[in-house]
């Protein structure tokens, strides 16, 4: 009995889509900058799971290499993002999305 055949690939894809959707929902409804930022990371991780699954399906190492690049870029993005969040907090003393509203329509 081989374990890797027990779970169909579609389940991984569904989990990946679910993670991505949760990220989108979190991005849209959360009201704290850090949580919103974490939601984006969740979306990226959902995508990574898709890449790995498809790489397994096609027997192509390309998909797994993609994951490394995504992680690297996500780390760079996190560095810049957190720095910007600190800059916002220094000038506004808040992380609530609703209160960062100097500019409005």
């Amino acid at each position: 009995m081989s374990f890797h055949q027990d779970v169909p690939l579609a389940w991984y894809l569904l989990l990946s889509a679910a993670l991505f959707s949760l990220g989108v929902i979190g991005f849209l409804i959360k009201r704290n900058l850090i949580t919103v930022f974490m939601s984006i990371e969740l979306m990226l991780n959902g995508v990574n799971l898709s890449f790995v699954t498809f790489a397994h399906q096609w027997h192509a190492v390309k998909g797994q290499i993609f994951v490394f690049f995504v992680m690297m870029v996500a780390a760079a993005e996190a560095a810049v993002g957190l720095a910007i969040i600190i800059a916002v907090f220094r000038t506004r003393a808040t992380l609530a999305v609703d209160r960062i509203d100097l500019m409005k329509l």
Binding site: L33, S50, F51, K62, V80, A87, R92
Partner: protein, 508 residues
């Protein structure tokens, strides 16, 4: 498969990267008391060299390099030259308008150059992994630049909005790449074109394209995805807005052309109506919202949304006609928009004390030359003949008519009329004689230095050339369109030809 890496295929990017690294290292090793302005000149020189290198790439045989991940064709050279030109103007503008005592000035120049690396690479990448990396290089640099005035409230706010929505869009783009990889087993543009039409799971291909489009349309600030634009343009420093309203946009439009016409020509019947709707929405929403703005930067933000709509109208054109029109419009839009933001920077000042329309009152009397330049750019944005804006709109709408989208062209023309209202309002205010002395004393006379004069001269000249003798640029855009239209083999760089080109001397 090409065994040699063929570094000449990415020569402009290499030059820009080296320049950026040099600027960054010099900034770190120079004494803190020393002025950082020479670093800006160094960055400008590097960008000029990259521009020449792009032109030199015309002498290479067209084809791919780096194992089929990047290519050099007339199309890529067209956009490389455009982007290097934009970055050069933005650098010259920053040289004179950044306060000389500002900290991290060296980093500013390095980030602008690194952003240029990403934008250039974005136009020549034919492998979605490289596209993703290039998109992120350009985005992350511009996120930081948007928050450059970090002591103020608005600049970090602009940066965080740009960062969050930009990363959100990138995640969608990335999911699109994952799905197209799942549907076809490839992430190379030409291979996708071959495999997408025969893919077993057609629904997956369609969803992938939709995800990719969401990501790209966010970046070009087309209508349903435009909400971040006004806030970011209002809050970010004006010299940065001059760059990020033109450079990343031109690069992303090149990417959109590549993805739609090269990777998904088979789905033309699907994406053409979609872009029709997006174009109409962008034009109408952009122009209607711009009418009621009092802040000039915010007004120009809505205007740039509308211009994205005019450009997307060209995508209704068939094949190379549409591509040529879109490329030409990208050039014309960049020339006049980077120019008008240079004027806005000079008038409103680096600390942006005077960004309202009323602050432009009597500009023609305060600074006659600058006022005339402002009015010239506004006329070009309206689309009056003998300016770049006119031929941009002309080619874009005629491409739409040619592609059977007459209604789209009519909506575009009506919108151009609507847009004239707010452009003319600003022009009229600038040409009005200031009535009371108090008003005239309140807003200081703009200081125009050498570098910024060169920047203004370059953008005025580009707008005029595009308006009076558009044929040369149009021919370049057309030959670029043909190179984009003819899909090459999946991995075809003939190693013999590549080996010959390495030894080839640069064109005199």
């Amino acid at each position: 498969m090409n065994p040699t890496p063929s570094i000449d295929r990415i020569l402009p990017e290499v030059i820009l990267t080296l320049t950026g690294v040099a600027v960054m290292l010099l900034d770190a090793s120079l004494k803190p008391a020393w002025p950082r302005r020479p670093l800006g000149w160094l960055a400008a020189i590097g960008t000029t060299l990259a521009l020449w290198a792009s032109l030199w790439q015309l002498s290479l045989p067209e084809g791919a390099g780096f194992f089929g991940t990047v290519e050099t064709t007339t199309f890529t050279v067209f956009f490389h030259v455009l982007i290097c030109g934009i970055v050069l103007v933005a650098l010259l503008l920053s040289l004179d308008t950044l306060p000389p005592d500002s900290h991290h000035q060296g980093e500013f120049y390095a980030l602008v150059v690194f952003g240029a690396v990403g934008m250039c690479l974005l136009t020549s990448a034919i492998e979605l992994l490289v596209v993703f990396i290039a998109l992120e290089i350009s985005s992350i640099s511009t996120y930081i630049l948007a928050g450059y005035r970090k002591q103020t409230g608005r600049s970090p706010e602009a940066a965080i909005k740009y960062f969050l929505l930009g990363s959100f869009a990138t995640a969608f783009f990335l999911y699109g790449i994952a799905l197209i990889f799942g549907a076809t087993g490839s992430t190379q543009v030409y291979e996708i074109a071959h495999l997408a039409s025969t893919a077993q799971n057609h629904a997956l291909v369609v969803i992938a394209l939709a995800m990719l489009l969401v990501g790209i349309l966010f970046k070009v600030s087309a209508a349903p995805f435009h909400i971040w634009t006004p806030d970011v343009y209002e809050g970010a420093p004006s010299p940065v807005v001059a760059l990020l309203s033109t450079g990343p946009k031109a690069a992303t439009f090149a990417l959109l052309l590549r993805i739609l016409y090269e990777a998904f020509p088979a789905l033309h019947s699907l994406w053409a109506p979609l872009l029709w709707v997006v174009a109409v929405l962008s034009m109408t929403i952009g122009n209607l919202a711009a009418l009621r703005q009092q802040n000039v930067k915010r007004m120009m933000a809505y205007s740039s949304i509308a211009h994205a709509g005019y450009l997307l109208a060209a995508f209704a054109g068939i094949g190379s006609i549409g591509i040529a029109a879109a490329s030409f419009y990208a050039a014309a839009y960049a020339a006049m928009n980077v120019g008008i933001f240079a004027v806005i920077t000079l008038v409103s000042g680096y600390d942006e004390k005077y960004p309202m329309i009323d602050d432009f009152r009597g500009l023609v009397y305060r600074a006659p030359l600058l006022g005339c330049v402002l009015i010239f750019f506004l006329i070009s944005l309206i689309g009056v003949p003998f300016t770049g804006g006119f031929f941009g709109k002309f080619y874009s709408f005629s491409a739409a008519v040619d592609g059977g989208a007459l209604a789209l062209a009519i909506v575009g023309l009506l919108n151009s009329g609507l847009a004239a209202a707010y452009y003319l309002r600003l022009a009229a205010v600038a040409a009005q004689r200031p009535s009371d002395e108090a008003n005239r004393a309140a807003v200081p006379k703009p200081q125009v230095g050498v570098a910024v004069s060169a920047a203004l001269l370059l953008s005025v000249a580009a707008t005029l050339v595009l308006g009076i003798v558009p044929n040369g640029v149009l021919r370049a855009a057309q030959s670029g369109a043909h190179t984009l239209q003819v899909p090459g083999q999946p991995t075809d760089p003939p190693s013999a030809a590549a080996a010959v080109t390495v030894e080839m001397p640069p064109k005199p």
